[in-house]
Symmetry: C2
Subunit: 349 residues, 2 copies
């Protein structure tokens, strides 16, 4: 160790590495061994206060930042978790991420996120990057595609999506919103408002299927006929628009709509306006997600709040205990949603 960091570095054309201090520098400055520094870093219990202080000071003075690469290499764990988001355009992930971090940060874990769409557009398997990065675990906030996680050997928690298509992920834990209950909440709210001719605009995603089920169950419970459209479409604004037009062309008697998400609900607004129907006077509309969209005054959309932040936090807790005990039985948690009433719903005229 005599000639570490020699005055003039061999490859001194290195662009931007002004001799970043290492654990050796800290150790030297603090007058201790580098093991001790390592111990202080992850504050091990049996270090004398004097030494600890010396090390801490040295760290401070040198502006030392541990190298993740080195510690990952040495410890075979990165203390990082990869989060694969379905689509950055859908803002529900922001809340999810907040919840995730509220638990993972204090536990010393770093989270890195990737967008499934973006990743796929680059023509690569989105999880490849994460495994190259040696993440300790994966959170999948997206529909688990067949074979996506074939050779993934770290724990996986699926967040937000309850339906696991054809057992694609037999080993994954799942934390999701109780979408069926959410569908029920939305429908019951309209029922309570006196509506009877309530239709549902659905989509082909897993969550959409559960929401639909909640709607259907509730209608049946009230002795009413279900009317569902769009169960085979994507859950976009455009499809919501198209679905509403179809619905009202055939069934002008409808007075209320449950949409599978806020985006579709906004789509219905446009169709309704074009048909000369006003919200909520002629038609009441409920969305799902309680996204920022729903809160805009111009839309003021009554919406089911899945409590995404809580889903994130619970996902993180699940992850941590899975990491703690890889052999524990698979967990499947459901977070209870609630309804946020705004101005898009009113008693039946």
């Amino acid at each position: 160790m005599a000639d570490r960091n020699p005055p003039a570095r061999p490859g001194s054309e290195a662009p931007s590495l002004p001799a970043r201090p290492t654990i050796y520098d800290v150790a030297e400055r603090a007058g201790v061994s580098k093991s001790l520094v390592s111990l202080v870093l992850r504050d091990a219990p049996h270090v004398s206060d004097a030494r600890r202080l010396a090390v801490l000071n040295a760290i401070e003075e040198l502006g030392y930042r541990p190298s993740r690469a080195a510690s990952a290499l040495a410890s075979q764990r990165t203390r990082s978790v990869g989060v694969l988001i379905d689509d950055f355009h859908n803002p529900w992930f922001v809340e999810l991420l907040g919840g995730l971090r509220s638990v993972l940060d204090p536990a010393g874990y770093t989270v890195s996120v990737a967008d499934f769409q973006l990743e796929a557009a680059s023509g690569r398997n989105p999880v490849d990057g994460f495994i190259a990065q040696h993440v300790d675990a994966l959170v999948l906030a997206a529909e688990p595609e067949e074979g996506l996680l074939r050779d993934v050997s770290v724990p996986v928690v699926v967040a937000g999506v309850r339906e696991l298509g054809s057992g694609a992920l037999p080993h994954a834990d799942v934390v999701a919103g109780d979408d069926e209950l959410g569908g029920e909440l939305a429908t019951r709210h309209l029922l309570d408002l006196g509506h009877r001719a309530i239709a549902h605009i659905s989509g082909r995603s897993g969550p959409a299927a559960h929401r639909r089920r909640g709607y259907e169950r509730t209608m049946r419970g009230a002795g009413l006929a279900s009317r569902v459209v769009g169960a085979d479409r994507t859950t976009t604004e455009a499809e919501g628009y198209a679905a509403a037009h179809e619905l009202f062309a055939e069934h002008p008697e409808i007075t209320a709509l449950v949409a599978s998400n806020d985006l579709m609900a906004v789509g219905t607004f446009a169709a309704l306006r074009e048909r000369g129907l006003s919200v909520p006077a002629d038609v009441a509309v409920v969305g799902y997600d309680n996204s920022p969209l729903a809160a805009y005054r111009y839309l003021a959309l009554t919406s089911v709040d899945p409590h995404s932040r809580e889903i994130g936090a619970e996902t993180a807790r699940t992850l941590l205990s899975r990491l703690d005990d890889p052999g524990a039985p698979r967990r499947h948690a459901l977070i209870e949603p609630s309804l946020v009433v705004r101005e898009s719903t009113a008693p039946r005229g």
Copy 2:
């Protein structure tokens, strides 16, 4: 090297490391040295086809993935760039990211993103994570806060924000939209439609200041008086709403509005509706960002498109040449915006 990967690993309670193959395994299987494997990996020029093929096959058969941690440690570069987003809720970053990756991916760089708000909520300096990660460069898609990048020694490119408050980042390259031109585009469009009483709803961000300037310049050019409100507020939907109310309370003669972004524009929609004014019949409204919001049929907002994807691509190109030549003169690129006309603007009634 005799006993690497012994049959039973010492700490064989390791959760999830089923002997991930290393470069040694590949070398052995291909019957070459690990140096050769390394050469093949970043396809060096002088490797015989036979060997190369053998190595490639071994890699394939073993399912080998290089360890980023190890290569980062050995090479002192991660081939990764950190992107600091202002706020994940603002979807403009998605396009930016797409553009960034379209040039960074082929160049072999990995991008990792963080959200400034989220990061700050955790009470840590958002760039700390990046520097611990050893990113080779930083993209700042946010207002550069004072002192944020104090001890950052890697190249920084500021994306999208043109105004650098009090020289906070004297060394950073900048790639931004030409917001002043955008403001002009919006205003000119309304002028062309015959509007004369055109007001502007602004905010206190850097981009907002430029957009405002474009508006003012254009009004002045037309011999008209400017009317600006909200230059000291945040650029949110709520502020757009409040600003529109104030504006029309005092100046009911206004027939057109230029908003500093789409969010504020949506805010004005609500205020206008409350005042019994309809869009575009009574008041024409132009937004900025051409966000997904603007495209919703129910809003159909005419908006200035900053071409965020192109901003991202140009940012990446700037980054790459900066990495290539750290000493090159600072670059400052402006991307030209365009106007997307929808239904929120119409000729003056």
